[in-house]
Amino acid sequence: MEKPKTVKVLKFYTDKCDGCFECEKACSMIHFKTKNGGEQSAIRIFKKGNNYQMHVCDQRGLCQDMCPVGALIRKKNGIVWLDKDICIGCQACVGFCPIGAMRKSDKRIEPFKCISCGACVRSCPEDALELVEKNIDDIKQVVYHKQGV
């Protein structure tokens, strides 16, 4: 299989966001068929000072090397995908994600993550979100079991 070279990741325009959380609701519709947002959403919006910040997976893919059953793979379109039929719910990816972007809801044992589907982008009334293309080589990160630091 030819390896993907690019991947679409979310870009956030803080000055446009007014904190309506429509993106989270759209995301939880994708993952859990609810409009709850919050812990059931892969994208999270947090208020910091007077502004809002986005917290979401940047598709660096470090989690793939943590998965004991190979449930995490980089798809043809470059995104890192968790196959929940293969996943055995160990939370290694959740625990080891350096930015805490692998999500876990109490609703089910398998984690979930951003798949760059664009549902949040489409739902945002303020155009504060955008999917931008990045070279995988520029963002990729691997876990080396390093001796020492």
Partner: protein, 775 residues
């Protein structure tokens, strides 16, 4: 260094590939017993039944797990002890039909969220010790056994020809089949059986199969181990973890079992059906994060596994070299963990059960075998772990590649690296003294450092050669001691003092000369000298945290109980204290790792729905621990004389040992024995050794006194009916048996303290029948 993010299909080990005619192997199987069972779901961590297979009669049946059994024995090793108590006699020998191989799981076994939750615990009457030996092991077998429907597997009787026992969780069927054509050694046998019994020709399907097997070395001698497989979808090989101690593999082959195979239909993160999966995920994730952030600054398990200990042990004079004569060695840096790090494969998740991010199961892939039947082939070597590397030091092998060779052949021949290494180290010392020589060793030049001779010895054991030495030496240190003494070769005292066994089992790899508590940690073990009951060297020797006898006794109460608890639940001990929370040192009892103990309380409650606290966890262990000691008593052991340890583990046996640490020992004669400096200067070396010998032997007896007292046992080491009742054990047969033994000891005048208490010193109690007050 390999790049990460390699799709699993594309990963290459570079190993030699084998092609087998699997159809031919399978068609040679003849089914000799068959049993269909109703598949069921695990509920709150329990399958609620155990599986019994009798190889002599072909009988296969289920036994229910009752509420009472869960309450008294919790699971795992506890269930194993209960099943043995109901099935064997006090006279059952390791090779008798009544003896059993038991593989148990435990209520937390198979949890994927909390690291280290996939352990099986095996029990049998050991050929080395003639009492129960329990050995815990990783790999997928335990979780799969439970998810296939059984909390434990009990195999009794003996087959007439080589058989495999197959537990097919997909079909709900157990079969015993002849298996005449498969390879005899584990690394190939496991691969053949994994392919044979997987439902589809895919790696995911092969990952649903786990095999327990041993090798040709286990057929001859007492060091047989069991290899538990876990199929690695990246390396495309079934890797193995060992239930090493006590000769389980020897019993296995004596029963003519070639392998046990379990196949799980399906499993996921909640196959245990825990009451509270959300809590398990939260507690587990917390530990994953701790490991992510702190492991590299603490034990570095993820990089080098337990091998990180080699340099620490060497630095503290605790690394056994040349049969425990020394605790450090000038050449030791050649086998420090960075040397193995260079050889280990990086990046791959190396847990022996899913979700263990401590990932200590390191491997060397594409290792080129140097000797023996697989010479020139490229193989995956599982390990080496600390103990195996330290066996290298003990035999004075300082080349990582020879240690890998030793590791590979021990595993595939089904030999316990610890017993094999410790025993060979003893033979080497005897060789150095001329007590053994080339002729007496059937032509082997077993001198320290001779790696070729070590491997040759192992190949000859596996080939079944029956030279006088090979035959007796493969049965271990105790039998060789008896043999040397019977032959009149060498000084009896020297042989007894230097051969590192207790209860018939070889020591694991720590020098304990300067830690009295750890001498007790080895000597007072139920099964024989393995460090899984207590590891107190740093607390005792380095930090001086348990200075008085009663402090040591308290540690020898709490830690063995706590460590027993892992075996009741199907857990690994490493994620308890080989990773510590960042603020652990500031807690009141840092050695106990209080936050992690609380994690376990939460995990057990989250799986079972109980509402226990940390005290109850210790009680769970105490019931089983005392039960096992009581069974030792039942089998004619479990007394003070059985807790004897060789002097090599207490102090310097030889003049060379004394002189190598002269300053330390001279200082002790002054500070601890109250001799004055001038006296010591004038003393002959032999005299100094003798004085120290008597002092340390007496210290050990005093330690035993304190520990027996703390544990509520008689001064001769017998658990009392009063103590048992206090723990809620009401088995009348057992209580009566204990009382009879105590009465016998009383008649023989054995219920007395072992230490010599001089003026100003006090035994733990002046009342020898103090235990009666427990009523």
């Amino acid at each position: 260094m390999a790049e990460g993010q390699i799709p699993i299909e594309e990963y290459e080990t570079g190993n030699t590939r084998h092609k087998w005619d699997i159809k031919k192997l399978k068609s040679a199987h003849k089914i000799i017993a068959e049993y269909n069972y109703k598949k069921g779901e695990v509920q709150r961590g329990y399958a609620n039944r155990t599986l019994y297979v009798n190889l002599s009669t072909g009988k296969i049946k289920e036994k229910p797990v009752t509420k009472d059994m869960k309450k008294k024995f919790t699971g795992g090793r506890g269930f194993g002890l209960k099943l043995l108590w109901d099935s064997i006699k006090p006279t059952t020998g390791w090779d008798s039909e009544e003896n059993e191989i038991i593989i148990t799981t435990g209520p937390l076994c198979g949890t994927t969220q909390y690291p280290g939750s996939g352990k099986s615990i095996c029990l049998t009457i050991s050929p080395s010790t003639d009492i129960i030996c329990d050995s815990n092991v990783g790999g997928f077998f335990g979780p799969y056994l439970k998810f296939s429907g059984f909390d434990a597997l009990e195999i009794q009787g003996k087959a007439n020809e080589d058989v495999v026992v197959v537990i097919d969780g997909e079909k709900g069927k157990v079969t015993v089949e002849t298996a005449p054509l498969e390879e005899p050694n584990s690394h190939l046998l496991n691969e053949q059986l994994t392919i044979t019994y997987s439902s589809e020709d895919t790696d995911r399907s092969r990952q649903k199969v786990s095999v327990v097997s041993t090798g040709s070395g286990a057929e001859h001698g007492y060091w047989g181990c069991l290899n538990f497989s876990f199929y690695d979808i990246r390396r495309k090989v079934p890797r193995v973890k060992q239930a090493g101690r006590g000769g389980l593999g020897s019993v296995f082959r004596n029963k003519k079992i070639k392998a046990i195979i379990v196949k799980v239909e399906k499993f996921d993160g909640v196959s245990n059906h825990p009451t509270d999966p959300a809590t398990l995920a939260k507690v587990g994730t917390k530990l994953h994060r701790e490991i992510r952030d702190l492991d590299r600054y603490q034990c570095n398990m993820r990089a080098v596994g337990t091998g990180h200990l080699v340099e620490i042990m060497d630095a503290y004079d605790l690394l056994p070299t040349e049969n425990y004569r020394f605790g450090s060695f000038p050449k030791a840096s050649r086998i420090y963990s960075p040397e193995f790090y260079k050889l280990f494969t990086k990046i791959i998740p190396d847990g022996c059960w899913h979700g263990c991010t401590l990932a200590c199961s390191k491997t060397v892939d594409g290792f080129v075998v140097k000797t023996g039947p697989y010479k020139g082939q490229k193989v995956t070597v599982d390990g080496p772990e600390y103990e195996t590397i330290a066996c290298g030091a003990n035999m004075s092998l300082w080349d990582p590649l020879w240690i890998l060779e030793f590791n590979f052949y021990c595993d595939t021949y089904g030999l316990d690296t610890i017993s094999t290494g410790t025993a060979i180290a003893f033979y080497m010392e005897m060789y150095e003294y001329g007590i053994l020589n080339k002729k007496r060793c059937d032509g082997l030049e077993l001198c320290f450092g001779n790696a070729e001779a070590v491997l040759e010895f192992m190949h000859r054991i596996a080939n079944g050669e029956r030279g006088e030495f090979i035959n007796i030496a493969s049965k271990g240190v105790r039998r060789v001691k008896d043999w040397l003494i019977k032959k009149g070769w060498g000084n009896k005292q020297l042989i007894e003092d230097t051969g590192m066994e207790s209860k018939g089992l070889e020591y694991s790899e720590y020098v304990t000369k300067e830690s009295l508590a750890m001498q007790g940690g080895y000597g007072l073990t139920l099964k024989g000298p393995q460090h899984d009951e207590a590891w107190l060297i740093f607390m005792d020797m380095v930090n001086n945290a348990i200075p008085r006898f009663e402090d040591k006794a308290e540690a020898l109460h709490y830690f063995p109980m706590w460590r027993t608890w892992f075996g009741l639940n199907g857990l690994c001990k490493l994620p308890w204290n080989d990773i510590e929370p960042a603020n652990n040192a500031e807690t009141e009892e840092p050695a106990k790792i209080p936050e992690h103990v609380q994690n376990y309380v939460e995990c057990q409650n989250a799986v079972t729905g109980w509402n226990v606290d940390k005290k109850e966890l210790i009680l769970q262990s105490e019931r089983c621990y005392n039960w096992q000691r009581a069974m030792n008593v039942w089998m004619g052991r479990g007394r003070r004389k059985d807790d004897w340890i060789p002097y090599r583990s207490m102090g310097p046996v030889t003049e060379m040992e004394y002189l190598s640490r002269k300053e330390r020992y001279d200082k002790q004669l002054i500070e601890k024995l109250g001799l004055n400096e001038k006296e010591v200067e004038k003393m002959e070396l032999k005299e100094k050794i003798k004085v120290l010998y008597e002092y340390r032997q007496d210290q050990y007896q005093k330690l035993i006194d304190s520990v027996y007292y703390r544990r509520g046992w008689t001064p001769n080491g017998v658990p009392t009916p009063q103590k048992m009742k206090q723990l809620g054990i009401d088995d009348l047969k057992m209580l009566k048996m204990l009382q009879q033994n105590i009465d016998q000891d009383e008649k023989a005048g054995l219920n007395v303290w072992g230490g010599k208490y001089s003026k100003g010193e006090k035994p733990p109690s002046t009342d020898h029948k103090y235990w009666k007050k427990l009523d």
